[in-house]
């Protein structure tokens, strides 16, 4: 009813005409280009400070502890359910072809190459990366970084770089834990519940699963995902508007951008390794 009447209270009205319409079309492109440019610059600034922060390993270990413990419970619970479901599904499918003896190997290959790093990555983004974005955004909005700078302490080296290194270290560790728990879940459902022979389960898993190939491919993915998701989380926190809405938006952006980038990178890495 009052639409367009109260511009003096700060509500903006949508301008009509050809030029504003072209502007509205072009603005997202400008925004995305700006984002890519500033993100690349931010990554370079972090990379330049990693050697400095590695001289103080305690700062990194503190962050590894925080990020790792934040995601560990959900990684363990999710890993167990993933293992149970995948084991059950593979057993049901392979039973149609009378190949249930390779269910352990099939589950292990699927988990090592694809499901383990992707699930661990998505859970890490949801748990730890969002916390990183929110904490960095709040520190920036409450001028904690400005206070550090005035005390001649570089916040990028003291706060950002340790979190980046910790994220890159944590995700591979969490992935390995998720894999171990998921395999245990599969063992529980296929061997203990359904009654498959334990020797076939472990024997075929050892026989058909390659350490260099299956396991290392998954580990490589988790390292790349860890680096990428940490950088995206830190960037969004560091560039968040210093308001409650700004930090909330930055946290949402972290989940959206990091998850989509993870899935895209998963395809790229799989394609490169397959070729």
């Amino acid at each position: 009813m009052n639409e367009g009447r109260d511009s003096s209270l700060g509500r903006s009205r949508r301008r009509k005409g050809v030029i504003p319409a072209i502007r509205r079309l072009g603005w997202p492109l400008v925004e995305k280009t700006y984002f890519l440019g500033t993100f690349a610059r931010f990554c370079w600034m972090i990379a330049a400070r990693v050697p400095g922060c590695l001289k103080r390993p305690r700062l990194v270990w503190v962050q590894v502890y925080h990020l790792g413990t934040l995601s560990l419970p959900i990684i363990i619970v999710a890993g167990l359910f993933i293992g149970l479901v995948i084991g059950l599904q593979f057993h049901t499918i392979l039973d149609r072809y009378g190949q249930t003896q390779v269910v352990g190997a099939a589950v292990a290959i699927a988990l090592f190459r694809e499901l383990g790093p992707v699930f661990a990555g998505l859970l890490f983004i949801g748990c730890s990366c969002t916390a990183v974005t929110a904490s960095i955004g709040l520190k920036r909005s409450s001028e904690q970084f400005a206070a550090m700078e005035v005390m001649a302490v570089d916040p990028l080296e003291r706060e950002i770089a340790p979190r980046f290194v910790a994220g890159a270290l944590c995700l591979p560790l969490l992935t390995v834990i998720l894999l171990a728990v998921a395999i245990t879940g599969t063992y529980a459902i296929v061997v203990l519940q359904i009654g498959m022979d334990e020797g076939f389960f472990w024997g075929n898993m050892q026989r058909f699963t390659k350490f260099f190939g299956d396991f290392t491919e998954g580990l490589l993915k988790s390292v790349v995902f860890g680096v990428m998701s940490s950088a995206i989380a830190l960037y969004h926190g560091y560039s968040a508007r210093p308001t409650a809405e700004g930090v909330a938006r930055a946290t949402t952006n972290t989940v959206v951008y990091a998850s989509l980038t993870l899935l895209g990178l998963d395809f790229v890495i799989t394609s490169l390794l397959a070729s």
Binding site: Q144, A146, V150, R158
Partner: protein
């Protein structure tokens, strides 16, 4: 060593994100060892001036800010960080590190920049907290303290490294009368005992005039008057007089300049 701690000449400034000129060519001279107050209404550019002194924003061409003998505009990042080791600043917002206890907040600059043993750093942090009356809160987190107590912790952190130049952005805001008197006395004593120089942004005329040597009165990005507290009190300038006495009537406007009030309310006979 020069007799000047801070020398600002023709300082003009506007924020890159906002197309508004904040400072219009101000000149400020802070003698070494003095306590200088920057006073003025909200939005007159006092905090921006102090931030420019600490090099938080780039100094525009044609302006000059010399701090402890070093021109800020010519310093690279490493040079700026070396200079900041000689500065201490109390922010308007306490800006305490929320993930560290109060004691560690105060110890932070010592841990970062000194090779002192842990026990010495602990003792120094406790002494600084004792000076602001919060030694008993050393193990608490900033979120467990009131706003006024947080400001006192921030003050203890600002003086932790015994800086040569101290910048206080509203040190008396949110303090009860007792704390206010003690903090004002502390600022005075620090200047005398450490031989430091202090720049205080404040609106508290009475308390400030008791401890400062020099006052700069700012209005809308300009220095409109300066002098000793006695000179300011004796000033016949209507702006100075209105500010010092806090009168509602006078040349200093209360309202932000804007469009016509009657027109905004859409009154029928508005022009």
């Amino acid at each position: 060593m020069s007799d000047t701690a801070v020398e600002i000449k023709n300082l003009r400034f506007s924020y890159p994100s906002r197309n508004v000129q904040i400072l219009h060519g101000i000149d400020i001279h802070v003698p070494r060892g003095a306590i200088v107050a920057l006073m003025g209404g909200s939005g007159s550019g006092k905090t921006t001036t102090v931030r420019l002194i600490t090099g938080q924003y780039p100094i525009p061409a044609g302006s000059s800010v010399v701090v402890d003998g070093e021109p800020i505009e010519r310093l690279d990042l490493a040079g700026l960080y070396r200079l900041r080791l000689r500065l201490g600043m109390l922010f308007q917002n306490p800006a305490l590190f929320t993930d560290l206890p109060v004691g560690e907040n105060v110890a932070f600059p010592l841990r970062e920049h000194s090779q002192l043993p842990d026990a010495t750093i602990r003792d120094l942090a406790l002494m600084k907290l004792h000076a602001v009356g919060l030694r008993a809160a050393a193990a608490r987190y900033p979120s467990e303290l009131s706003g006024g107590q947080q400001r006192r912790v921030a003050l203890a952190r600002a003086i932790a490294f015994d800086p040569k130049i101290l910048l206080y952005d509203e040190p008396f805001a949110g303090l009860d009368p007792v704390s206010l008197t003690i903090i004002a006395k502390l600022i005075k004593e620090l200047n005398e005992h450490l031989g430091s120089t202090s720049i205080i942004i404040t609106h508290d005329v009475e308390q400030t005039f008791e401890i400062v040597d020099l006052v700069y009165l700012m209005w809308q990005g300009k220095v409109i008057a300066s002098g000793t507290p006695a000179e300011m009190r004796a000033s016949a300038d209507p702006i100075v007089s209105q500010f010092i006495h806090g009168s509602a009537d006078g040349p200093l406007p209360f309202h932000l300049p804007g469009s016509d009030y009657r027109r905004d309310l859409r009154l029928a006979d508005a022009p």
